[in-house]
Symmetry: C2
Subunit: 206 residues, 2 copies
Amino acid sequence: MVINKASLTDQIYNLLKQKILQREFELGQQLKTRQIAEDNGISLMPVRDALRRLSNEGLVDNKPRVGFFVKNFSENEINDILEVRKMHELYCLENYFAEINRQEIKKLEGKFEKNSSASFFNRYDIKLHQEIVKASHNQYLIDSYFKLINHFTMLFNYLNHKRSKFSRQEHTELVNCILNNNKEKAYRLLYRHLDRVEIAADAKLD
Amino acid sequence: MVINKASLTDQIYNLLKQKILQREFELGQQLKTRQIAEDNGISLMPVRDALRRLSNEGLVDNKPRVGFFVKNFSENEINDILEVRKMHELYCLENYFAEINRQEIKKLEGKFEKNSSASFFNRYDIKLHQEIVKASHNQYLIDSYFKLINHFTMLFNYLNHKRSKFSRQEHTELVNCILNNNKEKAYRLLYRHLDRVEIAADAKLD
């Protein structure tokens, strides 16, 4: 089998990205080029290319003459990212509640109650929030939200951890409100839910 | 004097970008590579590189085997872009009114009344809206707004044209409201102003 260099970079990029998003590394942890190359039986070049690409996407910090590190977030950055998320989601829930795709939300019914694994929970979590934003049918607004989606995912996975019990209940209630067309309660729940994520973020950093 | 290829690309890129933003071309107008090269006494390569860069930024459409065209906006796209702008500005005015930099707004006092040229008017216009967003001091939110700033500028310059008299008055009132700390009126004005821009966009397309 012939493996070309481009696809090798793609493969190691995808592997590292998934590991970062699924919190298999610690925030701020150094990603050692040589070790990654050895572990995966490949040369240094594709590993460096992949790490540079992740650095361009803001998932990895590239410290010149020191090395690559999993992106770590200051308290300010976490609050800033969560605020951008809040602005998008609350705007869409407020203005496009009727347009939220009920068929897709219906599929999420009961998903947050079950004792599903963290990775399943996170997938449904992200899906629920995305459906609210997609309801705008505004491609520029959706793109603007999705540009930060990897940062949201990192923060969800690194922060939700401690509060998954609360979060399951909040998501279940939100799904029910959308399916019951209770816009006011849905807005209050989402507002409170997003605020709680901020509090959880703060607590984590204390 | 030695001019390297990179800086030639930069120069023609900056020239074309400015011309597009200042509406020296029509929306949808073809940008002929050969003619631009001849007019500026340069070869085809830097012109093509510059046009590809503008295409990556969404200011130029690159139609394979046809050529490059100044970005034209469908009615839906205009409304989508203006909605993203509205979401950012109204959110910031609502949540960060007290943080708007009064010294910078003070500099805009009287600027919209004078019979200034369209290019001055547009500069002050953009500055006023930017100051509202900057008040959030949220770098992710500001970046998210600025990613669309070239599209806003194109739309301002191509659409404001017909309604600059209204717009001058609206901007003067908005500046006064901010300086007088009248948040409610400022919010109403901005909301109405941004709605009017949408109406003007619609009218243009009829």
